[in-house]
C-alpha cells in the first residue's frame, strides 16, 4: 500500500490525515503535492496527522523537512500529530524531533497554533 491522504479543516487549521507508507516514489510525491496545494491556497496552519503512517524512509523524512521549511518561510506553521514509534524513533535518530512541534492529541495541536 502506498500513501492515502484525507484533508480536512478544523477552524483555520488544515489537517492532513496520512496513512500508509511515505517512501520514495508515489508515497512521498503524493504528500508533497498535497502540501504544496495547501501552501498555494494560502493555508498558514497545517497539521500532519501521522498516526496511521506505517513506514517512512529517508525520502519521506526529506519531504517533511521540505514542507516544514516552505511553510515556515511563508510565515506559516506546520506541526506533527500522533507519531508512531517508528516515525518518532527516526526523527530522534536524525535529530529532527526537536525541530518539529509534535503533539499527541489533536486538541492540543489545534490549540497550539498561533
Amino acid at each position: 500500500m502506498s500513501v492515502k491522504l484525507n484533508t480536512r479543516q478544523v477552524g483555520d487549521v488544515s489537517v492532513i490525515d496520512v496513512s500508509g507508507r511515505i517512501t520514495l516514489g508515489e508515497g512521498s510525491s503524493t504528500l508533497r503535492d498535497a502540501l504544496r496545494g495547501l501552501v498555494a491556497q494560502g493555508q498558514k496552519k497545517i497539521l500532519l496527522n501521522l498516526g496511521e503512517v506505517s513506514y517512512i524512509d529517508s525520502s519521506g523524512i526529506g519531504e517533511l523537512v521540505s514542507a516544514f521549511t516552505s511553510v515556515t518561510n511563508g510565515g506559516g506553521e506546520l506541526k506533527l500529530l500522533n507519531l508512531t514509534k517508528r516515525v518518532k524513533d527516526l526523527l530522534q535518530i536524525t535529530k529532527l524531533y526537536t525541530v518539529f512541534d509534535v503533539h499527541e492529541t489533536e486538541t492540543s495541536a489545534i490549540r497550539s497554533f498561533a
Partner: protein
C-alpha cells in the same frame, strides 16, 4: 532443535532492474529471510530500512534508473550474521567524506540521510568501489543468541 551452526548459510543472489519495484522486492526478500533466521520485530524493521535505503542509492544515485544497468542483490543468512550485499553499475561517488546530516548546517537538508540511517541500523557497513565500475555496499546484522 537442529544445530544451525552445522548448516550452510541460506544464500540468495538476484540481478534486479533499476526500478523502485526492485527496491520493494529486495526489502521484502531480505525481511522474509531475516524473519526466517529468527530476528525479532525490531531487527526486521532495521534490516528492512537499511536494505531499502541501500537499494534506493543503487537504483536512483548509482544506476540512475538506467534500464540497461542492473543491481546485484545478495542475502546470506548464517547462524551468527545476516549479510546483504548490493552492487550497482554506476559511476561511483566520493563516499569518504560524506556530509554529516546531523550537523547544524545540514540538519534541514531534504536529502543525505540514507547512509547515516544504514549505519545506525546495521552492525557493520562497508562500501567499496568496484573495478571496472560501480559501487558495492555490504550490510551485516548480528544474530543475537537467545
Amino acid at each position: 532443535m537442529p544445530d544451525k551452526s552445522r548448516h550452510a548459510p541460506e544464500t540468495v543472489n538476484q540481478s534486479l532492474d533499476s526500478t523502485l519495484e526492485s527496491v520493494d522486492r529486495a526489502e521484502e526478500l531480505a525481511v522474509g529471510m531475516a524473519r526466517t533466521a529468527g530476528f525479532d520485530e525490531d531487527g526486521l524493521v532495521k534490516i528492512g530500512m537499511a536494505v531499502r535505503e541501500s537499494m534506493v542509492n543503487a537504483v536512483v544515485h548509482g544506476n540512475r534508473y538506467n534500464s540497461n544497468k542492473k543491481v546485484r542483490f545478495s542475502v546470506a543468512a548464517a547462524p551468527e550474521r545476516f549479510t546483504v550485499r548490493i552492487a550497482d553499475e554506476g559511476e561511483g561517488f566520493e563516499f569518504q567524506n560524506l556530509p554529516d546530516p546531523l550537523s547544524p548546517e545540514n540538519l534541514m537538508r531534504t536529502s543525505g540521510r540514507g547512509i547515516f540511517l544504514i549505519r545506525s541500523f546495521m552492525d557493520e557497513f562497508q562500501i567499496r568501489r568496484l573495478d571496472p565500475g560501480g559501487t558495492e555496499v555490504t550490510l551485516v546484522k548480528y544474530m543475537v543468541s537467545k
